[in-house]
């Protein structure tokens, strides 16, 4: 399959933005396919919101272009851009009802009344909020407000949907439910979506691909699986999932002295009471229950590791054998080898 221009929903080409005398976004490249859901993931202050605001049109990049469905929109104002944004704090208009909020974009487009009514009802039905259509934003719960904001974005039938940490104001349980709802809707409508988050769980579970950002740059852009299995930089390996992070080298399933960095996922550390090829003697030092698995601290002659074990959890003090199934080896922050 070749990437024809038709399949590119959003192209960010060398975006650069300077704010307050600092380079906030630094020559950023990103190509999002049509209908794809992409997360911008990164720590606070890395420039996720700034990137999203440039895509939405609230900020004009100092350098670079933004191409939406083949059309250059770099300098077009937000009101003319075929994008719709869901704000972190929802930004619902308190003086309008739920219906009024969702109807606003259509009124602005001067649609006929019956058409507006029909489309608003469809959008509200989609997010299960018909029963609240005459309520004010202040009278409904946070999760419901979030859905109103989503309906207000979807009713515009945008070419691209932009979400800035849309779930951060919800409690943990609701967050999981709502993110699945969003993913469902996004798939059903096949709408190109960019979602900003600093929650890796959220990114890993709902995205087709994830762009991990650091200091205004994209460190890696790949599928959740790839990102986890083959983090291309040390930064990404540390940011995504959990990692045993050891200075040294790696040979024959053992950590040796060296100048590289060895990264070992706790899932890739295997403990057993029987010796298998590639395993070495170890003792269990500490067992910390983590819910559906236990974090086990193990000591081997060459290295101390923590492991995630969910079945046959050993007791602290027991001896056994530990095998390292996979190690990521980095040099100067870049992945050089997977062993």
């Amino acid at each position: 399959m070749t990437d024809s221009p038709q399949e590119e929903g959003l192209v960010l080409n060398g975006l650069t933005k300077i704010l307050g005398g600092r380079v906030i976004i630094d020559n950023l490249h990103l190509v999002v396919k049509k209908g794809e859901m992409v997360s911008l993931l990164g720590p606070s202050g890395c420039g996720k919101t700034t990137t999203l605001r440039m895509i939405a049109g609230f900020l004009i990049p100092d350098k670079g272009d933004i191409v939406l469905n083949g059309k250059d929109v770099t300098t077009i104002g937000p009101e003319k851009r075929p994008s719709a944004m869901v704000f972190q704090n929802y930004a619902l208009w308190p003086h309008m009802t739920v219906f009024g909020n969702v109807a606003y974009p259509l009124k602005v487009r001067k649609l006929a009344k019956p058409e507006i009514e029909k489309r608003v009802h469809e959008a509200l039905a989609m997010v299960n909020l018909m029963h609240h259509k005459d309520s004010r934003p202040g009278q409904i719960s946070g999760g419901e407000q979030q859905r109103v904001a989503l309906a207000r974005a979807l009713v515009q039938e945008p070419d691209i949907l932009l979400l800035d940490e849309p779930l951060s104001n919800l409690d943990a349980k609701l967050r999981v439910k709502v993110r699945e709802d969003i993913r469902d809707l996004q798939r059903r409508l096949g709408i190109t979506t960019v979602i900003v988050t600093h929650d890796q769980d959220e990114a890993l579970s709902i995205s087709d691909r994830i762009a991990v950002m650091n200091n205004g740059k994209i460190e890696q852009f790949s599928t959740p699986q790839e990102l986890y299995d083959r983090p291309e930089t040390e930064y990404v390996a540390n940011f995504i999932g959990s990692l045993n992070h050891i200075q040294g080298g790696f040979a024959d399933g053992q950590v040796i002295s060296g100048t590289e960095v060895v990264g070992i996922r706790p899932e890739d550390v295997h403990f057993s009471t029987e010796q298998v090829p590639g395993s070495y003697p170890a003792t269990v030092q500490l067992v910390v229950p983590r819910g559906h698995f236990c974090e086990v601290y193990l000591k081997r002659a060459d290295v101390e590791l923590h492991a995630f074990i969910s079945l046959d959890v050993p007791l602290a003090g027991t001896s056994g054998f530990v095998k390292i199934n996979k190690a990521l080896i980095y040099k100067d922050g870049k992945l050089v080898r997977v062993a």
Binding site: F58, G77, P78, E79, S83, A91, L92, H95
Partner: protein
Amino acid sequence: MAKREKSRAKSSSPVVKALLGIFMLAMAFFILGPLLWLAIHAFVTNWTYPNLYPDGWTWHWWTQIFANSALEESIRNSLIISPIVVVLSMIICLPAAYAAGRMNYVGRKTFLIGLFAANSFPKIGLFASIATLYYALNLMGTIVGVIIIQLLGTIIYMTWIPAAAFASVPRNLEEAARDAGASKFRVFRTITLRMAMPGILVAIVMSFLASFDEAQGTYLVGAPAIYTMPTEMYALVENYPIQIAAVFSLLLAFPSVLLIGLARKHIVGGQLAEGFQIK
């Protein structure tokens, strides 16, 4: 223990209620008492100290007021000047208030504190220096002169309150509207202005009252050519029976009460607070 706490809370509440009741009654007495006294005096032929009841009831004072062309003219002046002052004040101050509301925090505070400081100088000194200017510009004893003087007193209300109201409209509510496709002007009209409206209404009411009640400057600049209701009161208190002043006070209070009544519904709506989390 918990039970005792509870019973104590319960037993204290009637005391609090009683104190609150007494306080309210006292307030009512000091505020409504004089009003009641005025209201009665506006309709009595005579009512003096040893007598428990008025001598009789009459519309005489009211007809006398409306028959007196000087009094009538002062009412007309007030009803013409004050609305003009309010409208002019809106035209001049609201854009400034909007600009101040959109300034950064430091800029806005400096602007507003500056205005406040200028406003807190004794007025009479300001008026005296304005009077010299007025003589030079031939504004003494003119409607324009009175309007300008009264305008000065409304500026503080028409900038402070709306500036705070504009500032309290969260930016991302405006951005959300832009994102939804609205032009800048439409965003201003349907979101910013709409959400600042309760504040602007308060400012309109306050400015109207400030203008309507202004006597010092108006007297200095307007008399003897132009009298408004408050400046006419001076003459009344000296030259007419008390009942005429009572009628006039009621007339003076009437627009204020009416205006507050009309605006109340919109101001107490409380929409500003509900429905969004300010970032």
